[in-house]
């Protein structure tokens, strides 16, 4: 260990500590990466449409923020002890990957929630406007025609209601 480094540490940290501090610092980056990955994984959970899904965006945000906290702590330690040797490159890469993932999670979070307010959309008790639109075979179907009994089933009764599902599209 160089003499210069030891003397520099002597007034801030006990001389026996540097290895422990360094391993903690690199662990910060790994913890950050782990949390960032967990935050990313939250997006996969939506695919199964689970019952508690309303909480998942917030969970991903919490994990991303925690990842940032570990990242900030790791960086702070590097600045406090600029002349660290082993593990510096690896933990820098880990930190960069973590930061990239956190950015993706945050962008996704705000992007997914940037929805129009739809203040004038029909509400419960209101009557919706009639419409006529083409189905997948190009046949035009009016709102009232949706209430016709299914043609392919002679025992079919007219539906009581339709469930209109507006979706973003297939791309």
């Amino acid at each position: 260990m160089p003499q210069e480094r030891q003397s520099e540490e002597s007034h801030s940290l006990p001389p026996v500590m540097p290895d422990a501090v360094e391993s903690r610092r690199s662990l910060d980056a790994w913890w950050s990466l782990l949390l960032a990955l967990a935050a990313m994984l939250c997006n996969v959970v939506f695919l199964v449409n689970p019952p508690v899904q309303q909480a998942i965006p917030w969970l991903s945000l919490l994990l991303a923020v925690s990842a940032l906290i570990f990242l900030a702590r790791g960086i702070k330690r590097v600045f406090q002890r600029p002349r660290v040797g082993r593990g510096k490159i690896l933990s820098s890469i880990v930190a960069a990957v973590s930061l990239f993932l956190v950015s993706l999670v945050l962008i996704t979070f705000f992007h997914a929630r940037a929805l129009p307010t739809s203040a004038a959309a029909p509400r419960v008790g209101q009557r919706v406007l009639d419409f006529t639109l083409a189905d997948t075979s190009g046949r035009r179907i009016s709102f009232d025609q949706l209430f016709a009994p299914a043609a392919d089933d002679p025992q079919a009764t007219a539906p009581k209601a339709v469930l209109l599902i507006f979706y973003r599209g297939y791309w």
Partner: protein, 108 residues
């Protein structure tokens, strides 16, 4: 919509017909139905006329900045009265089939 397809028989028993609407032209919706195995009605509103009238237009949110519908679900009876509605706050969070089925079963 996968959940709706899975429980289509239950919707039918409850007397509710699921109908999906998007800006996709019929051929694209046909592709989707084929690939995803949807057998319920899928309607096309390529000019977003109905979507706009329902105030569901999400400007520039589609591919290449095209306008699309924001996700929303309406349960509408035969006199065209809305009985239940759901507007998600996050495009990743969609109404679950069992939620919608529970609402369907409550209809009289």
């Amino acid at each position: 919509m996968r959940g709706v397809e899975k429980r289509l028989a239950e919707f039918k028993t409850a007397g509710v017909r699921p109908v999906a609407i998007s800006v996709d032209p019929p051929e694209v919706s046909r592709d989707l139905c084929k690939k995803a195995g949807y057998s319920f009605t899928v309607l096309s509103d390529p000019k977003a006329e109905v979507i706009r009238r329902y105030d569901l237009l999400h400007v520039g949110a589609g591919p290449e900045g095209r306008d699309v519908a924001r996700p929303a679900e309406f349960l509408v009876d035969s006199s065209r009265v809305v009985r239940w509605v759901n507007f998600t706050e996050d495009v990743r969070v969609r109404a679950r089939a069992d939620e919608m089925l529970a609402q369907a079963k409550e209809l009289r």
